[in-house]
């Protein structure tokens, strides 16, 4: 069958090509489309029946006609060739080189859709990753095998934050940091601008990890349909690095909103019933297929830690993409426009941020004994300080009680000293926690009810006397 070319195109629109009279094409089959200029495009069967076969074309259907379009069904699913040489290379969304070097040749290739990990085979992530960023390490701790997205908005420095995490991430082992010889990075960019792509490239180069990065890029002016396959291709590569080559893989995916928009485009073309904001009802399942490929597997040394960047259209956290992402991922880091405007960098809004896997990755033997309580106290005190602030905005700061004034001071110090840090500033977890005590000590001891008496005896006084 693979040698036959069909020219029975029935219609073409919005990245979809319908073919008549193709016997027995399997769902998910890869196809090669040749247009009237002899150029090749690749695609995949997304619906198949005896009468009509529907193909999505990753390069789009622009410039195709029905009469001079030839389609070859390869009789195999979409697969990616895998070899250790993927590191240091740059590919497009379907896994073809974009760096002018030859394609990867390997006996090993895998279906890019992967297969679900048996939950009984997963190992629960609990190894603390030190990112050197206080708001993450101290309050929204990242662990190996976690999926922790960055929720951002247009114009906010999510790329800089992601790059800083990539530069500084390291494992803390019994209080000592570990070198990362077994570390790899998979960078998946969908719909990003040329300048953003360059920013990341320079950032990897500068931190000397370029040889450890496999990059998959679909730029803003590349065909959008390709974004549908790109994260699957990138994660297939990540799974290979993690579970075949035993590496600890950090996957940065940006921007998932563009991915979802491409999915919406195809869904509309197919006539799928829309659920919210025109996105198809299966957006949740589709995103889950991508995000759930992160994790650890019992008996395997490697891991996949996933940091997707999700931009929130109009800063709306209830938009379907961030909303559904939040239901699948293990927490989120939310960036705030107000903090960015107040020149707090990185502008992490800690209150809506969360790391669900934090509780098992911190504490005695992993970070420090008081970590959980300190984090809880910071959240509670800062939430209280926000209430005081809104009160001050109405009745004026002069009218506040003395205790409330101390909350205002705390909030200032928290934002300017704890949240704010340089792009090159790599704080250890102990520095982060000491800093937390420093700002918490601006509050009266009685207000710190989430800390134990022992913590307060050991650390509170100390911070004041310093």
């Amino acid at each position: 069958m693979s040698s036959l070319e069909y020219s029975s195109a029935a219609w073409a629109r919005g990245g979809l090509l319908a073919m008549r009279k193709v016997p027995e094409a399997a769902l998910g089959d890869r196809v090669v489309v040749r247009d009237h200029q002899g150029r090749q495009r690749s695609g995949q069967v997304i619906r198949t029946s005896a009468e009509l076969v529907l193909v999505q074309i990753f390069e789009g259907t622009d410039n195709l006609d029905l009469e001079r379009t030839w389609v070859r069904f390869l009789d195999k699913p979409f697969e990616l060739a895998l070899a250790p040489e993927v590191l240091g290379r740059v590919f497009n969304g379907v896994g073809q080189p974009r760096d002018g070097r030859p394609p990867i040749v390997s006996k090993l290739s895998r279906n890019v859709n992967g297969a679900s990990i048996n939950p009984a085979a997963r190992a629960y992530p609990r190894e603390f990753i030190q990112t050197g960023i206080s708001t993450i390490d101290g309050m929204n701790t990242l662990v190996r095998g976690q999926k922790l997205p960055v929720f951002s908005g247009s114009g906010l420095p999510h790329n800089r934050l992601a790059a800083q995490i990539v530069r500084q991430a390291k494992l803390l082992h019994a209080g000592k940091t570990e070198s990362h010889g077994d570390f790899a990075l998979v960078f998946a960019a969908m719909g990003v601008s040329h300048s953003d792509a360059r920013f990341f490239e320079e950032s990897f180069e500068e931190s000397g990890v370029l040889g450890q990065v496999a990059t998959f890029i679909n730029l803003a002016d590349d065909p959008p349909i390709e974004r549908l396959i790109l994260p699957r291709v990138a994660l297939t590569c990540a799974e290979y690095l993690a579970f075949d080559l035993d590496m600890h893989v950090l996957v940065v995916m940006t921007d998932m909103t563009y991915y979802a928009e491409a999915l919406r485009e195809i869904a509309t073309g197919k006539g799928d019933v829309p659920a919210r904001k025109g996105f198809p009802g299966y957006l949740y399942s589709d995103l889950a297929e991508i995000y759930e490929r992160a994790g650890r597997i019992r008996g395997k040394a490697g891991s996949i830690t996933l940091i997707p960047v999700v931009s929130m259209p109009s800063d709306d956290i209830t938009h379907p993409v961030p909303d559904l992402t939040g239901y699948i991922t293990e927490g989120q880091i939310v960036l705030s426009r107000e903090l960015a405007a107040a020149n707090v960098q990185p502008p992490v809004a800690v209150l809506p941020s969360l790391s669900r896997l934090m509780k098992d990755g911190i504490g005695e033997g992993m970070t420090r004994e008081d970590h959980a309580r300190v984090a809880s106290q910071l959240f509670a005190s800062y939430a209280k300080a926000q209430e005081v602030r809104s009160l001050a905005a109405i009745i004026g700061a002069e009218e506040l009680s003395e205790e409330d004034n101390r909350y205002l001071q705390f909030a200032e110090a928290f934002e300017n000293r704890f949240v704010s840090q340089g792009e090159r500033e790599d704080r250890t977890i102990f520095q982060t926690l000491d800093l937390a005590w420093e700002v918490l000590s601006l509050l009266p001891k009685e207000a710190l009810t989430r800390l134990s008496e022992k913590d307060l005896d050991a650390r509170y006084q100390q911070a004041v006397s310093e």
């Binding site: 997304i46 859709n113 799928d272 889950a288 759930e292 098992d360 809880s376």
Partner: protein, 603 residues
């Protein structure tokens, strides 16, 4: 009885096949891979099949086989402590057979066929006796916690013509035979099958009478649920639904807990799988897994199996109910199940009504929740299924279809709030949005078993919380100085109730489970402090001084200072309050302090 046909059309999880005579609901095996699905519609000679597994690689023209039976679960000894996927396949066996990734077309029985169980026939049951469906044939001590009753399948009744002696049998061995009215002879086994979409029969529904004790103060004390009741936990992401559900699964005083992870995170299920075997039941001291059964369908597993998983869980729950147990079924999350319905409806091109959901969403949800309840079983005993569903409203909007339909059906509503969660007030149950229709029934239990004034104290504390909410609105407009001393004390007492009582840490060993006695002691202590403080304010004590009492900071830590079996300490604290306030009263009631107070106000 199986019919043969061939595949015509494949679109995602929906396959159309030429299959005359197939019935809706019937199982269908598809293609060379042998993927399983079920018929959801018939059109002429075609059957529309929803497939439980990923359909990639399937081709038109491949065979389709109707299997003659609807999707059924296997019931019998050996299912407790099990971890199943949405189709009741044991995940551990799948791991052994095919490795860490789930392969397609895998058929693995839910119960070990070779294992022998010690069966003891019911003593009073004699050969020749007439027995009906649901009667108890005998029992198997499945583990130290649970005695598994072997029931006559509900559809069989007649004369018992055979019953084996006590001994060890596999689930496939014949342990008895029944001759029905028509003279047909039915063999009875330790295991039986039941179709998941058909509710198991019972004699009649009965009143729910006893509160389900979850050990969570906001639930037991404020918004109780009865054994046999229906509850929902709606909340946006990050509000703590999963932690709360896990707390219920861990600590509730049900005899059997069925936890259905429906479309949720893989790592979360792994956490359950990792931690539950290490936990012990606070009442029996036995491993929690002995009374627990997990159904796990993670979000990346095929969507149709997700839709099925809640029915699999419910049928398992009903099976234990029929043995006379109080069962809690926790479904996390029913929204994912509803979305699976929507996804299939969308693929079939059904007309959407609200947010893409099909018109039958409300009736499907209601029919499912109605399978919960306390019943008189076929054998005359009592059993119950308590159903607690998590709901994940998009954007935390409770007016969306799944939440609003669910709210109409359930009796206890624990509304989670993003604002509370952001302030790390856990469990983030919003006391203004939540409700329970069971407070009066629960009060009867509390009055009989704990204390007579439970309802009064509970209502008092809720009133304080509501008043504080009003006062906070004023404070936000004009500042706290505008309030009277009494009002400021109300505000402070409400804060004390929030932090010292409502907030409960799942991570603190002494706080994670809170016995009814401890709940009551804490509640009465908080109200006692409020009353005594209010009284002294009337005598003229400046409110600032009252707010400075170290007692207030200390009271917030009582919940973590004393475990449920260290209540003597808490009682001592209650006694210590008396002299403290007596001293204050003496100070302000004396004429000299009256004078100093009036001077103070003048200056």
């Amino acid at each position: 009885m199986s019919g043969q046909g061939s595949i015509l059309d494949i679109q995602g999880p929906i396959v159309v096949a030429q299959l005359p005579n197939a019935r809706t609901g019937e199982q269908v095996k598809l293609g060379k891979l042998g993927l399983m699905g079920e018929v959801i519609a018939r059109e002429d000679a075609r059957a529309v099949v929803q497939v439980y597994e990923n359909t990639e690689g399937l081709r038109p023209g491949e065979p389709a086989t109707a299997m003659g039976e609807p999707l059924s679960v296997e019931l019998g000894p050996g299912i407790l402590g099990g971890i199943f996927d949405g189709l009741q396949r044991p995940l551990e066996s799948m791991l052994e057979q095919t490795g860490e990734r789930i392969e397609r077309g895998l058929v693995i029985p839910a119960i070990d066929r070779a294992k022998k169980w010690p069966f003891v026939p019911q003593a009073e049951l004699k050969v020749g006796a007439r027995i009906g469906g649901g009667a108890i044939l005998g029992s198997v001590q499945e583990n130290a916690t649970i005695t598994h009753h072997i029931l006559v399948p509900p559809e069989i009744a007649g004369e018992l013509i055979d019953l084996v002696a006590a001994g060890d049998y596999t689930v496939d061995d014949v342990v008895g035979r029944v001759r029905d009215r028509q003279g047909h002879i039915h063999k009875l086994h330790l295991s039986s099958r039941w179709p998941v979409r058909l509710p198991r029969p019972f004699n009649k529904r009965d009143h729910a009478v006893q509160p389900l004790i979850t050990g969570q103060r906001i639930m037991d004390t404020f918004f109780p649920l009865l054994k046999g009741g229906k509850g929902a936990i709606p909340g946006p992401f990050g509000a703590g639904k999963t932690v709360l559900q896990q707390q219920i699964a861990r600590w509730s005083d049900a005899q059997i807990v069925i936890y259905v992870g429906c479309g949720e995170r893989g790592n979360e299920l792994t956490e359950v799988l990792d931690t539950f075997p290490q936990l012990t039941d606070p009442r029996s001291g036995r491993p929690l897994m002995e009374r627990t059964l997990l159904v796990a369908n993670t979000s990346n597993m095929p969507v149709v199996a997700r839709e099925v998983s809640v029915y699999v869980g419910m049928t398992l729950a009903e099976y234990f109910r029929d043995q006379g147990f109080d069962v809690v079924m926790v479904a996390d999350s029913t929204s994912r199940w509803a979305e699976a319905l929507r996804e299939v409806a969308g693929r079939l091109g059904q007309m959407p009504v609200e947010e893409g959901y099909p018109a039958y969403l409300g009736s499907t949800l209601a029919a499912f929740y109605e399978r919960a309840g306390r019943v008189e079983t076929l054998s005359g005993g009592h059993g119950s299924v308590t159903l607690i569903g998590a709901v994940s409203p998009p954007g935390g909007d409770f007016s969306e279809p799944v939440t609003s339909h669910t709210k109409d059906i359930i009796q206890t509503f624990w509304a989670l709030s993003k604002d509370l969660a952001d302030a790390r007030h856990y469990p983030a149950v919003d006391w203004l949005e939540s409700f329970s229709l069971f407070v009066d029934t629960a009060a009867r239990w509390w009055h009989e078993n704990v204390s007579e004034d439970w309802l009064q104290l509970r209502n008092k504390s809720l009133r304080l919380l509501t008043e504080a909410e009003e006062l906070n609105r004023i404070v936000n407009l004009v500042g706290v100085e505008a309030l009277s001393s009494q009002q400021r004390w109300t505000l402070e007492s409400a804060r004390l109730i929030r932090e010292g009582l409502l907030q409960q840490s799942a991570l603190e060993a002494k706080d994670s489970f809170c016995s009814p006695e401890k709940q009551y002691l804490l509640l009465s202590l908080m109200i006692d402090i409020y009353n005594r403080g209010a009284e002294i304010l009337k005598l003229g004590m400046p409110v600032q001084e009252l707010l400075r009492l170290p007692l207030l900071a200390k009271a917030r830590r009582w919940k973590i200072a004393y475990a449920s079996d260290e209540l003597e300490g808490l009682k001592q604290e209650a006694r210590d309050i008396v002299p403290l306030f007596d001293a204050l009263r003496a100070e302000y009631a004396s004429p000299t302090s009256q004078r100093s107070k009036s001077e103070g106000t003048e200056s």
